[in-house]
Symmetry: C3
Subunit: 325 residues, 3 copies
């Protein structure tokens, strides 16, 4: 890809395929695909959501899939597709239909019902022998059926036995009250950290439908993180964030010599920049970092003259931190 | 419509035109119509919102309308169009312009101002003699002018005299603080139930802009319910829900033999599945069902082993219900 | 532009280019431009957001820009583009690249970093000598770096020295916690008023991403107000509001002889119509008008029989106002 901006100013061109995480985009069938002419370099694969493959007539579906693939972008079913097939006793038939329609990614999920190991094994072998990319999703859709963190980690280990290309952590399209997200869509950092202790950054993808979630995951784990359930409208925004070309991630930029600290320190700085005033306890819960890491970051930032420490006049035992403009 | 998925696995094909309610989609003129190539089977008619017909140049408007109709989809004006004409003393001129531009649905509303019976009669006769489909809307747009439930029902009766094809209940594009929706967009079930006592399910359409509202109305009244003010982006999602191909409505599916209860019992089960723990009072207000119906549903669900009843440890007189995974 | 509706009923045609403010639309690259065929008369210029110009390959970018310009619509960079160039020591190179790609609007902002006067002068002269339209933006993106009202006004004065075509007040894409918007996206009317005391309505543009903000700014300052960061999906809605063809602004319409009061009185009436019951204090804070102006408006509205004054039964010293249906 030639880009006179990229090559002459930003260095973006060289970076494009260097260490950028995968982006999975959700297709609601309401977008004209011509936007891919511009956006294709920033989309790894497109998921035709839920059971939508049942709804489109065969010719339209095959045509849409081949259009997407012509941009070098993969196409996956939504997990609900194979769950529906399983419930109706037609799991293998479903796999064949996906292959015959041109899907080159196969996603197996257990969002609504459980799929026995036997069927998951069949799917894994089917993918392997047909050169399809295998995706497995962990997590439940309904609130009352949510997994605990330990169950999530067990399910990840279990999925790894099938050697999928990527394991997705369920985030739904709302990004709320599911797996790593609380009811308001805030990230439970202890969950995200624990998950990343048992699976490498390249092998896991977090569904992150809200742009706020995308920004925070990039700030915390770097532009390498794989993100899914991204809406078509968010693709350009997400690419901008990954390449530090939007306000929120601007300061992450390796070309900007304003501040060279560890990722943890940069994350603390980001939170302080986006707050009026904040104390240590709030910083710990906002970043999910340990008390010690936050304290080290604060010391480093104060020494660099980037932030200041003050006594809270309403509670003299409390220190508050703010950015020095 | 041929769909190898539909016919071979889901049985969706046969269902498509069987008992699926009407879907009215709102057009903001910002979407390329090529998406209709795939989505047309799930759209009954498109409403060109508010007074937008005034804003487009005549040729573009006529072209857009004929494009939409070429998919077998109807086209309606937004109610504000004829209200504007009325206020300017050009009601009949407005009707003629709609017909001449190709609209085949005519909507008469009183969202902002009142239209006298005489004009509504003129419109009804105009529609009849020109083979146009007549739609009448009940409800006010502004908060301070909201109708009471009784006024709503009176207005529905009044509208029925004109024998419209469908009566729409106002929901605006926000779905909040109007008719059956409270300020947060929650459904006031006593309103919805009372409305459905005085008009049949086929003759009424609820504007339901939020996907959460669409899911709950389908769960409560079935896939037959007519829904309006659906955004282009929600069309595929709504069709998935109606055909039980998304998480929320998955368990409604007639092919899934997991649980065969009455609609009321399924609705109670859905609410329990989407809660951590819930008591009887909350179930009654969340479903709008009578205490007795909720109690019967709970007994049936406990007997089926799907839910459990526990004593609330914080209040020993209170029973709480939760889903058994 | 010919519009049989416009010319025969609404008088919209004559109004279209009469006193309508500018509309700047933000491009996320995910929309097919064919929608401009219908919407072009309502878009003044399109901003290719943030650093997106870095992300698109050169040919696609040049093609997109020339497509937009073929509708008579201008094209601007997002401010972050030149900030990125500046940080990398390539500010002038950036200006040349914009010109060579076909941009005919140049936006200079200081959303993330400060641009010295010298560079701003270079940009202003570059724009002038190349017949490009100069746009300067005032405001900071990050919460901790927000300007005070006085700093905002100082920055506006400073920008005026460069004689830009328009000065934009930062509103981000969220419309929250930035310049004239509080954390919930409500308008701080004292800010907006003070800004308009030091710069004329034609020379300033408020970024107003939320439709609620667009409606309130139009109600307060008239359809002449310039609005930016409008999403593609909101273009038709905004045009409807400006031309009084949607519910919220319907009563502003000069053709509707229901009520002929001052703008301030109409604004008070709008707030009362959109409340159940409201007292004087709340009216003052909701409109940002002075106590005296609100009192005069209330007297006028009561005399016209449009609203009523009652004693609050929960606090007998308090008067509450409501609309008479």
């Amino acid at each position: 890809m030639l880009n006179l901006y990229g090559s002459e100013i930003s260095g973006v061109e060289e970076e494009l395929n260097e260490g950028i995480g995968k982006t999975m985009v959700i297709d609601r069938l309401s977008t004209d695909l011509s936007m891919l002419k511009v956006l294709f370099p920033f989309v790894s694969y497109i998921k035709i959501g839920w059971g939508l493959a049942f709804l489109t007539d065969t010719n339209s579906l095959i045509h849409r899939i081949s259009q997407i693939k012509s941009y070098g972008i993969g196409v996956s079913n939504g997990g609900t597709f194979l769950e529906t097939c399983f419930v109706r006793g037609k799991f293998e038939k479903g796999l064949n239909l996906l292959k015959n329609s041109g899907f080159n990614y196969i996603e197996i999920s257990e969002g609504v019902c459980n799929i026995p190991k036997k069927e998951r094994k069949i799917a894994a072998e089917f993918a392997k022998s047909n050169d399809l990319i295998l995706i497995m999703e962990v997590g439940k859709k309904r609130i009352a059926e949510q997994l605990t963190l330990n169950e999530t980690i067990d399910k990840i280990s279990e999925a790894q036995e099938f050697e999928p290309d990527t394991i997705i952590i369920e985030g739904r399209e709302t990004g709320k009250g599911v797996e790593i997200y609380d009811e308001l869509g805030n990230i439970k950092w202890d969950w995200a950290d624990s998950i990343l202790e048992c699976i490498s950054l390249e092998k896991v993808m977090f569904e992150a439908p809200l742009e706020k979630q995308q920004v925070e995951l990039i700030l915390r784990y770097g532009k390498e993180i794989n993100l899914g359930n991204v809406s078509v409208d968010s693709v350009a925004s997400l690419a901008s964030q990954r390449l530090s070309l939007r306000g929120d991630t601007f300061s992450m930029d390796k070309h900007m010599e304003v501040f060279e600290g560890s990722p943890a320190t940069k994350f603390v700085l980001h939170i302080i920049k986006n707050s009026i005033k904040i104390d240590q306890g709030s910083l710990i819960s906002a970043t999910g970092l340990s008390r010690r890491t936050v304290q080290n970051a604060l010391t480093e930032l104060i020494d660099s003259g980037l932030i200041q420490e003050n006594t809270d006049i309403r509670d003299l035992r409390r220190k508050i931190y703010s950015f020095i403009r």
